[in-house]
């Protein structure tokens, strides 16, 4: 199935932050519900966390020279 994929199986592995990220989303949801200003911090933590997990997954070198 991965015959034409650029990455190997090992390279595609993720760090397991998913449960933590979902907990951050839950914290955001609860903060929004109760009107606590902490919602902004939880939301940014979750968003940055998602971006970090995605960045950790990208091992393909970017050819940014033009």
């Amino acid at each position: 199935m991965q015959k034409f994929s650029v990455l190997t199986k090992e390279q595609q592995d993720h760090k397991m932050f998913f449960a933590l990220l979902i907990l951050m989303i839950l914290a955001t949801l609860l903060s929004i519900w109760y009107g606590r200003p902490a919602y902004a911090a939880w939301f940014m933590l979750a968003t940055i966390g998602i971006a970090i997990v995605l960045a950790l997954d990208i091992d393909t070198p970017l050819n940014l020279t033009f």
Partner: protein, 187 residues
């Protein structure tokens, strides 16, 4: 104008909840285990819903303000951008000719392709709502009883996803790229 925004936020949340429920059906009913990138897209969809849910929650306390619209729109756009990056990443992984892609298809599209369209649609909707804020000076307070139900339903879906991810990954640090079993049960 308040009513229009509340309807938009409600529909937005319902659409995102529907996508998450559909993903859970694919996982638990059809038995197709989500890959790590699929899970990441689900979490981004959850983050996307924080924008419209924020608007609905603020309306419970007082009349909406332009500040509320700005915060809601900002959260929506940020989450949608992250989601677009993840979905594009997965589309590009399977873009080469002959690659069958990951998992089954719905309406002829893989789930990550549908996710990409959902994220783009969400960003567009948030943009429209932000621009639309210029059409009114102030908002009137309005009762919106569906808010509690929406929060409860969405929270439930998030918790089910949390259980799902723990079941699939077990207590392992790494999740296989092509999961074939629930590691919590098999280890």
């Amino acid at each position: 104008m308040s009513r229009l925004y509340l309807i938009a936020a409600t529909l937005n949340t319902l659409a995102l909840t529907f996508v998450l429920v559909a993903a859970l059906i694919v996982q638990f009913v059809l038995g197709e285990l989500p890959c790590p990138l699929c899970f990441l897209q689900r979490i981004a969809i959850m983050a996307c819903a924080m924008g419209p849910l924020f608007l609905l929650a603020q309306n419970r306390r007082s009349a909406l303000t332009h500040r509320d619209l700005a915060i809601s729109g900002g959260m929506s756009v940020l989450a949608a951008l992250v989601g677009i990056a993840i979905a594009t990443r997965q589309v590009l992984l399977h873009i080469l000719p002959g690659d069958p892609g990951y998992g089954g298809t719905v309406l002829g599209m893989h789930l990550y392709t549908i996710c990409l369209l959902v994220f783009i649609g969400h960003a567009l909707a948030a943009g429209l709502m932000l621009v639309g804020a210029s059409m009114t000076e102030s908002f009137s307070p309005r009762r919106w009883p569906i808010t509690n139900g929406l929060f409860f339903a969405f929270g439930l879906v998030v918790i089910i996803n949390l259980i799902g991810v723990v079941m699939e990954a077990g207590w392992h640090w790494m999740l296989p790229p092509n999961p074939v079993s629930y590691l919590l049960m098999s280890s």
